[in-house]
């Protein structure tokens, strides 16, 4: 009897519990599905770091807004090209870092040097500025000239990924308390637990509506989604497709990723165009949408999403035509192409949801078409051996599962590395494509756009370098009190200043 009373008392007391809920003030709680282990701004090209740091704590000189034709000013108010290799940037006046120091050209130089410091291994520097040297000259307190070798006609766009840090940050180690010029400043970072930012009263721009944010980390996407349902958090920017079940709160958005299989066109039988065409025709992409790929993905035609300048709109997705694929293989075989050679499919575990199932499905389709396909799924380290040059020698002809992100709107972030003979991910060699890439990289305006279009058309129609699969989508859950719709940019940043309340 006494036990029963204790039990009832315990039950009653639990009913009084109010779990920690997202603040009812103007603060928001964001739950991320990656545990943030660094908050160094030069790592902001990593999406988990970028979502917290980019344009919230640390800003860039310029800002690329998907869907807007013009590059937007941010910490630079204007820019002009002085000569082929040099650009002059006018810095915004009156901008102060959160520590009170004024933004000046030395901070820009420091931020560039930091990203080029190989000892630090900055993600942004490694991803966007590899193979490029920088020279900076301070013209006056608010003007800086930046010279690159090789010359970059899109330097202002490139600088939209470079967060500016004060030169007081530690030069040889990652900072754990980033100081920026952004609308929010860091309050605390409890590693593995939470991170808090609050509105910076001294921000140079318009004060945002959200007055602060708490970031929580839950690696299980189902838990992150549940936290929005219970009101413990307001936004889960990256949840799994199987958890996006509530049409009132869950949004899909194009995440700027393109899934492909790279064809090793340097080895037989893939050095024969008919075989590469047969590979593309043998895959039933429609059967994969809404089954092993999320509903909402679009069939891809090239490595970049349609929002990119120079996107070749005339290219059409490959149809599923098993008979034609078989006929092409038979034709190639008759001409002595060794189409029976065992080909290796190199998959990367968890490169995207259902990555293994996707490769198993494609393997079955290729076998049905007559290919002798063997599948290997690797973790990222082993997969990298096949994905990045120098490729292992000797090797079987392979198809490498890949996913490429280009949210910056220009193919320069894609073309050389993927399609140039010397590109570190390239498994093709076509002098005409090389020439188009070299010309387009140096061109500007309409010329640039046309050259990129020609390049993509040649790569995907004449050469057939890849098996394009899908333009991928991400899923977010947004709590009912917020007025916020995820966009293509949500994959790499989450600007708190763009969030409003209902």
């Amino acid at each position: 009897m006494k036990l029963a009373r204790w039990g009832l008392a315990a039950m009653a007391s639990t009913c009084l519990i109010t779990p920690a809920v997202a603040q009812d003030s103007k603060s928001v709680t964001v739950v991320l599905t990656e545990v943030l282990d660094v908050i160094e701004p030069c790592m902001a090209a990593r999406s988990d770091v970028g979502r917290v740091v980019l344009q919230n704590i640390n800003e860039t000189l310029t800002e690329f807004v998907p869907g807007q034709a013009e590059l937007q000013p941010r910490l630079a108010t204007s820019w002009e090209q002085v000569n082929d290799a040099t650009w002059r940037f006018k810095l915004r006046e009156g901008v102060k870092f959160h520590d009170g120091s004024a933004l000046d050209p030395a901070d820009v130089t420091f931020s560039i040097d930091r990203n080029k410091n190989a000892g630090l291994g900055c993600e942004t520097g490694g991803k966007y500025f590899g193979g490029m040297t920088f020279t900076t000259t301070a013209v006056d307190d608010t003007t800086i000239e930046i010279t690159t070798d090789p010359a970059s006609p899109i330097l202002p766009l490139l600088l939209s990924v470079l967060p500016i840090q004060p030169d007081s940050d530690p030069a040889d180690t990652f900072t754990t308390s980033p100081v920026g010029t952004g609308p929010y400043k860091l309050v605390s970072w409890d590693v593995g637990q939470s991170l808090k930012v609050e509105r910076s009263a001294d921000y140079w721009g318009e004060q945002p509506i959200v007055d602060g944010a708490t970031y929580l980390f839950r690696t299980d996407a189902a838990v992150a989604a549940a936290m929005i349902t219970t009101g413990e958090a307001d936004i889960a920017p990256n949840i799994a497709v199987q958890d996006a079940t509530n049409p009132d709160t869950d949004f899909s958005y194009p995440n700027s990723e393109t899934s492909t299989l790279r064809i090793d066109g340097l080895l037989p039988p893939f050095d024969d165009r008919r075989v590469r065409e047969a590979l593309n025709l043998a895959i039933d992409r429609d059967a994969m949408i809404g089954t092993i790929f999320a509903p909402g993905v679009e069939k891809a035609t090239q490595q970049v999403p349609p929002t990119t300048i120079g996107f070749a709109h005339d290219l059409k997705p490959w149809p599923y035509d098993l008979e034609r694929a078989r006929a092409l293989l038979a034709e190639a075989k008759a001409d002595g192409v060794p189409v029976d050679t065992e080909i290796e499919m190199i998959g990367r575990i968890n490169i995207y949801p259902n990555a293994t199932e996707v490769m198993e499905g494609i393997q079955a389709m290729l076998i049905e078409a007559g290919f002798n396909a063997k599948l290997q799924m690797y973790d990222v380290g082993e997969w990298n051996r096949y994905f990045v040059k120098p490729y292992p020698e000797p090797r079987a002809p392979n198809l490498v599962q890949a996913q490429h992100d280009n949210a910056k709107g220009d193919p320069v972030f894609t073309a050389f590395v993927k399609h140039h003979s010397e590109g570190v991910h390239s498994a093709m060699s076509d002098p005409e494509v090389d020439g188009l890439i070299e010309k387009a990289t140096l061109a500007s305006g309409e010329d640039r756009q046309l050259l990129w279009e020609q390049m993509f058309t040649r790569v995907n129609d004449t050469v057939i370098a890849d098996i394009p699969l899908f333009y991928m989508v991400g899923f977010s859950r947004v709590g009912p009190r917020l007025d916020f719709k995820p966009t293509i940019a949500t994959n790499s940043e989450l600007q708190l200043s763009q969030i409003k309340f209902r």
């Binding site: 779990p19 920690a20 291994g121 990652f174 838990v223 549940a226 219970t230 973790d379 380290g381």
Partner: protein, 304 residues
């Protein structure tokens, strides 16, 4: 007893050293950290500079020599991923796991011993059958499933507790509840069978013949003698928890050492792996020592 403790400590020190050496070389077999840390677009020159800056380009034996020199000074180097001393990273995570494991095991032992003893008092009775079903189910249910179901029922549907995280005592209820299930099922079974053996022994029959009350026979005479196998299994379960309740820590966002170790292995963050293994090995050594001493306390025939 003092000599026993000293001898065990020395042996454990050798074992620990051997373990660290083994882990040092095995972890290097997993591949080049530069392949994981740098963007896939990074040129080879950047990769090489990354290796040089962290001493990863040196011959393996030279790296091992540096490791031994630093080990003597209790310096495991910096975490590649976090760029902070690896030992600091580990020592921050360890108290979370220690608290989670300690509270869970205390609750498990109390519940399993009481229920196991009661079940053994009437073998085949309704209480015995119910506890057998519960313990077998608990011992075989997968952690991640229990965790997600618990969140769905108690946090989302009923709203009684938070889904996850830390910060208030309520945040500990679900993780402890989920961690409780498996060791409870196993230890309950061991207590039951051990108690059945003890309750059928001659000294229990003698006690009954002398008119000692059943409750005293069960919880005083039989239980003490039935505890030796229970302690062995409990130690094994506690070691599992100390190594990290990876699934529970992951699902509930607990910043413990299990998740840290798994992440560090996957990220090839060698310094953190070595520091974490050393700390958990030390904890397990201390726990095993405690178990040995408890044996001697419970059974006067055991002397070291």
């Amino acid at each position: 007893m003092g000599r026993f403790v000293l001898r065990r400590s020395l042996f454990s020190l050798f074992s620990l050293f051997g373990l660290l050496v083994l882990v040092f070389f095995l972890s290097r077999l997993t591949g080049d950290p530069a392949a994981l840390y740098l963007p896939v677009d990074a040129p080879e020159s950047v990769r090489q500079a990354f290796r040089e800056a962290r001493g990863l380009d040196a011959p393996l034996l030279a790296q091992f020599g540096d490791f031994l020199v630093n080990l003597v000074q209790f310096d495991f180097g910096d975490s590649l991923r976090r760029q902070r001393p690896a030992f600091d990273v580990v020592i921050e995570a360890f108290p979370w796991t220690l608290a989670l494991a300690g509270i869970t095991m205390a609750l498990v032992l109390v519940a399993a011993i009481v229920l196991g003893a009661l079940a053994a008092m009437k073998v085949g009775g309704i209480f015995d059958r119910i506890s057998s079903v519960i313990s077998l189910t608990a011992a075989s249910a997968p952690d991640f499933w229990i965790a997600l179901m618990a969140i769905f029922i108690f946090a989302v549907a009923l709203g009684w507790v938070p889904t996850s995280g830390t910060g208030t005592p309520w945040h500990w209820i679900l993780p402890i509840g989920v961690l409780f299930v498996r060791p409870f099922g196993l230890i309950l079974q061991v207590v039951r069978s051990s108690m059945i053996t003890a309750l059928s022994s001659a000294y229990v029959k003698t006690a009954r013949a002398k008119g000692v009350r059943q409750r005293a026979i069960t919880f005083v005479h039989a239980l003490r003698n039935a505890m030796l196998p229970v302690i062995t299994v409990a130690g094994d379960q506690a070691a599992g928890l100390l190594n990290g309740a990876v699934v529970v820590e992951t699902v509930f966002g607990f910043p413990g050492i299990g998740k840290l170790m798994i992440d560090s292995i996957l990220q090839r963050d060698f310094a953190v792996v070595l520091a974490a293994i050393m700390l958990t090995s030390l904890a397990i050594f201390l726990m095993n020592l405690l178990i040995d001493l408890t044996y001697a306390f419970l059974d006067p025939r055991i002397r070291y």
